[in-house]
Symmetry: C3
Subunit: 348 residues, 3 copies
């Protein structure tokens, strides 16, 4: 029943967005409808990925889940890169990272903590994740610190090299966590439901979902400039808060639901894993993509504001998760920091 | 006997300060006498608070102890705010935070460590405190980082919003630590002596002590500008070191005494708890107060030097306390960092 | 056999370097030969130190090992200081710190991790080391943050005071780790081989080795300016990467070998201990030395780039070692960060 309603919503929102786009309706209206559609198509992509993962076996399935987990963000960002909106791209990457660490994780810990006095999870996992998060932070901070002393060309070179190193580190992390040290890190596995469809249908739906995400993303990105202009919002705020929240809606609900079932390990894995993927995989891939797609390549130099937000989010998340147990107040702390960042980004 | 001497000192120092003030004696003399008086009246306020807390029962008593713990700092800062000496206020808040984390805690750990090879305490407490400390640091750093991109009016708005969020977070922390998760955090409780007086007398003395602190603070603040000028000291140094040390003298001795009785948990709670209260409660309350009392509201933007000092203090304290055990060398490290900061603040 | 080859290499490389120097051969050639000679004479100094330490008994021996461990770096830096090449000195100190933390430790953890799934060591040791590392970082960051508000004279004063405080803290650390808390920190001891020679010969060789290091260092430093110029390398890069790697070659191989024998505690002790010594002892000693030797004293103010590199290295090392266990991926992370830093330092 719930499933049926989802598909009806998916089709209606997708079709409406398409019509609104091709009929050149009011751009605010287009923007709102596209936002709703993104939530549905990203949810559909998530379902299709999981179903394919089910047939692919645990190892390849884990890989698929990991790489398709942020597919929506990657596709939205792709269109932003194509249009040369590099500042919005970086803002939305920043937003996705802090959204996952502060909002998704904060809500999960808070909601779970209201139901259970203390929730715990595999400390090893938290410790490994936090080392990786630090690599991510380092990799984003170093270019910004050194960019002042470099020419534009040198900055591009540095960005490309750092991007390639990060992608290598990320691929080796998959090797580490899925092959050589699988057993050490396993926690309550993220709940894998039954496969929704037959194998063939699953693959077909994965392709279909990817295409739908691509279209909706393009339509959404098309309205962005006009909407931010009309409401006097900065691209920073729209990228870092609006787009990031929309693109992550599916993960939000999944993580919170895990936490309320007392599977805090899975919730932490979704939230931290997703932000790691953005810093260590999505961001560097976009740098390489921009090099081929756009005239001028996007560099990996984030603004001070973005770095401050990311640094703060990583630092407090690391502090809260490193003991392997959580309570409602820790969730609240994460949310308070998210709100503070939201306020200052809105004002800037 | 020891008690009697204390009250004699209290009355003499308070009366002398009053006389010196109204007879317009030499301002250096006024300053020195007022400093001595502050130590006595702050000690008296501490005793009265504890006695009232004794009658109020554990829960309300804990709340009273927590909120009156930094009453002297709050009152001194109130008069500085009234006189528009915002820079000295922020310097004294900075000084109170680093004084508690580095000097009070450092002395406690060092003195305790000379007597006991290794002293340990509840790791959960340390871990929770450190998450809160990070919230405090984040809440002080973010406005400073973003203030560059804001107008004065926007900075005020941001300061007010951040202040309100911090006060809410602090009140919920009291709820967390005194109601929902009381049992998890309890350690060797801070030693509560016998109530010194009857219930009525205790309340009367609490009011009396508060009034005495208020008068002495006002007299002290009145001499400040002339004294700093005469000795060529910066307001930063006076606020961050002189006033902070004087205002915290009572807590200093209490924490060191706990440590030497091998109650390191209580010493840590006093030192860290007090600096948390300043960052998360006293500072934001002063922002709101300044909005009503003073013409121009005080913003929550600290200088780079102050933030560096706070960041350094929090970072090293977190590192030293997070394993739940201490030794003399760790105390020494905190003291060395305090001296280094004292030297550079003196030179700047 | 292996030993014999070492001594042949030692004598040949040393003599050749001397000849090249006095015959004013091509400076690039001089530089290359001197680099090779440094590796040999530093290795000889290490052997001689260990042999003397063997006769001196555990306590004095430990002290000797600790103070002579970075003798080569100290001597090279001494000649750089004498020639007033302060920027290269600071770059080489930075390079020695990050080289030990990222390259030596990274290689050790990586190599050990390929052979053993998980390697563990005394967590207490890691925790103490990390508190000390933070002192080191604090002591290097504070002068840089505050230097902006100081005159040259005040900066010198501050540098001298900070240097003296650090040396005191370091000496007390030796007291702590070798006297009062020896038992708490002991892990698998660093492997002490048989004494290679009789007591008298050992002392003689220690003196001889020190003299040889001194000569070779002077010859090396003499070629530096011309070589960096000819190849268009920055002094920062040469100091931070070339000189640091050469000066530490002996420690590199020792640490990696320990790790491959599953003595990870010893490897961590070598790498972290060595970088601690540089930050807390070698750097402040050089400040004091420069005050007496050179006309203008070297200040302790590092550049933003150097501080960023040190901060990043300490932060990620702390995160990786604090759980007392390591695996190949953690080693790889350290190496990736080292490479990223190498790339940006090369480009700047």
């Amino acid at each position: 029943m719930k499933g049926k309603l989802f598909y009806i919503g998916l089709i209606i929102s997708f079709v409406t967005t398409g019509i609104a786009h091709y009929m050149h309706l009011n751009s605010t209206l287009q923007f709102v409808i596209a936002c709703i559609a993104i939530i549905f198509v990203a949810g559909f992509l998530g379902k299709a990925t999981e179903s394919v993962a089910h047939y692919a076996g645990e190892r390849v399935g884990g890989f698929l889940n990991a790489t398709f987990g942020n597919a929506a963000e990657l596709i939205i960002a792709f269109f932003l890169v194509r249009d040369g909106l590099f500042d919005v791209v970086k803002a939305s990457l920043t937003g996705a990272i802090i959204g996952n660490l502060l909002l998704v994780l904060g809500l999960s810990i808070f909601a779970g903590g209201l139901k259970f006095k203390e929730q715990s999870f595999n400390v090893k996992l938290a410790s490994h994740n936090s080392s990786l998060m630090i690599l991510g932070v380092v990799a984003l901070f170093i270019p910004a610190i050194f960019a002042g002393g470099l020419t534009t060309k040198e900055t591009s070179t540095m960005s490309m090299i750092v991007a390639i190193l990060l992608i290598v580190a990320y691929l080796l992390w998959l090797l580490f966590s899925m092959v050589t040290h699988k057993s050490v890190l396993s926690d309550e596995a993220i709940e894998h439901g039954e496969a929704a469809w037959s194998k063939g249908t699953s693959i077909l739906f994965l392709i279909l979902a990817t295409v739908m995400v691509a279209f909706t993303s393009e339509w959404l990105v098309g309205t962005l400039e006009e909407v931010t202009h009309r409401f006097g919002l900065s691209e920073l705020f729209v990228g870092a808060f609006l787009i990031a929240i929309i693109g992550n809606a599916a993960e939000h609900s999944a993580a919170v639901m895990m936490a309320m079932k007392n599977k805090m390990g899975a919730a932490v894995e979704i939230a931290i894993g997703s932000s790691l993927q953005i810093a260590l995989f999505v961001a560097p891939v976009l740098v390489l993509v921009s090099f081929f797609v756009s005239g001028t390549p996007m560099n990996i130099v984030f603004t001070t504001y973005e770095l401050a937000a990311i640094g703060v989010a990583v630092f407090i998340t690391k502090s809260i998760t490193q003991d392997g147990s959580t309570n409602w107040y820790e969730g609240l702390l994460l949310l308070v920091v998210y709100i503070i960042l939201g306020v200052v980004f809105f004002l800037v």
